[in-house]
Symmetry: C2
Subunit: 347 residues, 2 copies
C-alpha cells in the first residue's frame, strides 16, 4: 500500500499527462494505493473530472475514493533555476509535494517537472543519507541484454574515488529492489578492462571498489560494454562513472539512437509509424522514471516529455520503491567506505 | 607527389589487406606517388605478385615502377605492449617504416597494426611538436550533418586545461587540411551549453579556449550535439574533450550503432546484406584512417579490421596530409597557450 504524491503541474504535458497517468495506474495496478494530485486545484480538478466522465468512466468510483487533489498555487517552470525555485516558490506543486512526503503524509513523490529543481528540493526537504554529498541519478540504457543502470548520470561532475563506491552501493540497492536483479554485477567505466587503465581518479576508484565488501564488483568495463550489456567477464547490471561522463553518454545516446534509427529506416523504406515502433525498444524514457538515489525517501524523476504511459510507469517505480523499502535499504548500505583493506594493501 | 610507407604486416588481415589497399590506391589515385611495402619481403612479395598476376594485372607495369618492398623481419602483434614492441622489435615493420619516415626516405607511414605501439613508436621516432606532452587521436563520428572530429579519443586521459587548447589547434589543422573545412568550428564537450557548466578542468578549459586567438571556438556543446553535428549555435566541425571521455564515447558508439541497426533491421525484416548496406553510413572505419596528431610527420592510424578499401582510404589521408603540409601547419599553430587575455580578465 503506497500513498503517491504526484506533481500534477510538472512536465511538458501537465496537467493532462500526470492526471491521465494516475488514472492509468489506478486502473492497471492492483492494491489500495492512493494518489495525491498536487497543483492548481481548479485546473487539476477540471482535467480529472473530464477524464472520469470520458475515457476513465470505468474507474470513476475508485478514483473518487483514492485520488485527492491538494492545492499548490505556484508552478516551477522548466527554465527556473533550482535555487530560485526552492527559495522563490515555496507553494509550488514540487515543494508542496515533497514537503508532504517529508511530513509523512505521502510515501513517494513523482514528477516530470524541472529535474534540477527536483534534485535540489529533494535534497533540502528529504535530506540525504549519511556519507553523501549529493544525490545521484541512475539511468537505464537499453542493451543487447537487460537494460544497464548507469550512474551517476549528471548530478556529480567532480567525483572523488569514494563517491564511486557510494554509486555502486546506491545502484546495487536500486537494481535489487526496483529492477529485481539478484546480486547485481557492477562495472567501473574506464578505457580498458585492466585495473591499471583509466584516469587517476578511476584507477583509485578501482582499488577502493575492489576492496569493498557487500557489492558484486566485476572490475573495469569499457564504453562498448554498455550497449552489449556485458563485458568479457559476463553480464553487467550497473556501470558506475562520474556525472560528467554519465551525462555526456546519456545525451549522446539520446540523440544517436534516433539518428541511427532514422538512417536505417530511410534505407529500409520504413514509414513513420514503423520507425516509431522500432524506436520503442530504445526509448529509455519508457522505463517511466528513475528514483533520485541517496535521498531519505522516494523522489521519482521522469522525463519532461513523459507521456501518460511513462508517468504510469513512473508511478509503478514509486510504488515498488515504497513497497521494497528501497530508501531504508540504501541508508543501511551507505556505511562510510571501508578503508581497512586498502590501507593494508599499501603497507 | 608523396612517398608512402605501408606497414604490410599490420592489422588483422595483413599482409593481404595492406598490399591490396596499396594496389587500389595505385589504380585510383592520380599522381606519381610511390609506395614502400614494409614487412617480411618473401611473404609480401608473394602476395603482391599474385595480385599483379590476377585482379590487378591492369596496373602491373605501374606497380613495378612505383612499389618497393622493404625487408623488416619482425612483426608487432596486436597484443604486444607498446613499450615492449618499441624496445624488443626494432626490426619490425612498424619501427622500420617509421624510421624510414624520420630519415626522410618516406613522407608518411600508414598502419592498421597495434595502435598503442604505433602511438608510442611515432612519438619516440618522429618526435612531437613543441608544447605537446603526448600526441592526440582524432576520430570522425558520423552525424546528421558532416562527420564531427572528436579529439582526444584515447591518448590523453588526464588532461590539464591547456591541453584542450592544443586539441583545438591540432583539430583545426586536421579539419582544414584533410577534411577541407573552412574556419572549422570547435565545441568543448560538457554537460551544458553555458560556460559555467562542467567539471573543474572543463570550466577552466572553456575560459582558456574563449581567450585563444586563431581558432573558431563556439563554446560548450553537449553529448547530443555530436550525433546532431551541430549545437544551437550552428554546425560543429570539432569537439574537444579529454581522452577518457573521448575513448568511452568512441567505444560506446562503436557498439551502440550495430546494436541499434540490428534492432531496427530485425523489426523491419531486413536481411543481412541490407543491414550491412544500411550500416555502411555509420561505419566510421570507412573514413580509412586518422593521422596521429601532434607528431612531426605523418603517421596514419587505421582500424585493425581495415579492409583493402579502408586502407586505400587511409593512404589517401596520408597523401593529403603530405600534400597539404599538415604537420608543418600544426607545428606553426602549436604556439604555447596565449595567457595574456586570460590574465587580463582576472585582473
Amino acid at each position: 500500500l503506497a500513498r503517491i504524491a504526484l506533481d500534477a503541474m510538472g512536465g511538458d504535458y501537465a496537467p493532462q499527462a500526470p492526471v491521465t497517468g494516475t488514472l492509468l495506474a489506478l486502473r492497471e495496478f492492483g492494491g489500495d494505493h492512493t494518489f495525491q494530485l498536487i497543483g492548481q486545484s481548479a485546473v487539476v480538478s477540471k482535467v480529472l473530472e473530464e477524464l472520469l466522465a470520458g475515457d476513465f468512466a470505468d474507474v470513476a468510483e475508485r478514483a473518487r475514493a483514492s485520488i485527492e487533489i491538494i492545492e499548490a498555487p505556484d508552478v516551477v517552470s522548466m527554465s527556473d533555476k533550482p535555487a530560485a525555485a526552492l527559495r522563490g516558490k515555496p507553494n509550488s506543486s514540487m515543494i508542496v509535494g515533497l514537503r508532504r512526503h517529508a511530513e509523512g503524509l505521502a510515501d513517494a513523490f513523482v514528477s516530470a517537472g524541472n529535474t534540477g529543481a527536483q534534485m535540489a528540493a529533494s535534497t533540502v526537504i528529504l535530506k540525504l543519507h549519511e556519507g553523501l554529498r549529493r544525490p545521484a541519478i541512475g539511468t537505464l540504457f537499453p542493451s543487447a541484454l537487460d537494460p544497464v543502470l548507469v550512474l551517476d548520470s549528471g548530478a556529480n561532475v567532480d567525483c572523488s574515488p569514494d563517491e564511486y563506491v557510494q554509486f555502486a552501493r546506491l545502484g546495487s540497492v536500486y537494481a535489487e529492489t526496483i529492477l529485481g536483479r539478484k546480486n547485481p554485477s557492477i562495472g567501473l567505466l574506464s578505457i580498458g578492462e585492466e585495473a591499471e587503465k583509466g584516469n587517476a581518479v578511476v584507477k583509485e576508484a578501482n582499488r577502493l571498489l575492489s576492496t569493498t565488501s557487500g557489492i558484486n564488483f566485476q572490475g573495469n568495463v569499457e564504453g562498448r560494454d554498455i550497449p552489449a550489456g556485458a563485458s568479457d567477464r559476463g553480464p553487467i547490471d550497473i556501470v558506475v562513472c562520474d556525472g560528467f561522463v554519465g551525462n555526456v553518454l546519456l545525451k549522446f545516446y539520446e540523440a544517436a539512437a534516433p539518428l541511427i534509427v532514422g538512417l536505417v529506416g530511410r534505407h529500409a523504406g520504413l514509414d513513420r509509424e514503423q520507425l516509431e515502433q522500432a524506436f520503442g525498444h530504445l526509448d529509455y524514457s519508457e522505463y517511466g522514471g528513475a528514483p533520485l538515489l541517496g535521498v531519505k525517501g522516494v523522489s521519482i524523476i521522469s522525463h519532461g516529455k513523459s507521456s501518460p504511459r511513462a508517468l504510469k510507469n513512473a508511478i509503478r517505480v514509486g510504488i515498488r520503491a515504497v513497497e521494497s523499502r528501497m530508501s531504508e535499504h540504501m541508508g543501511s548500505r551507505l556505511a562510510p567506505v571501508q578503508q581497512t583493506a586498502a590501507l593494508g594493501e599499501s603497507a
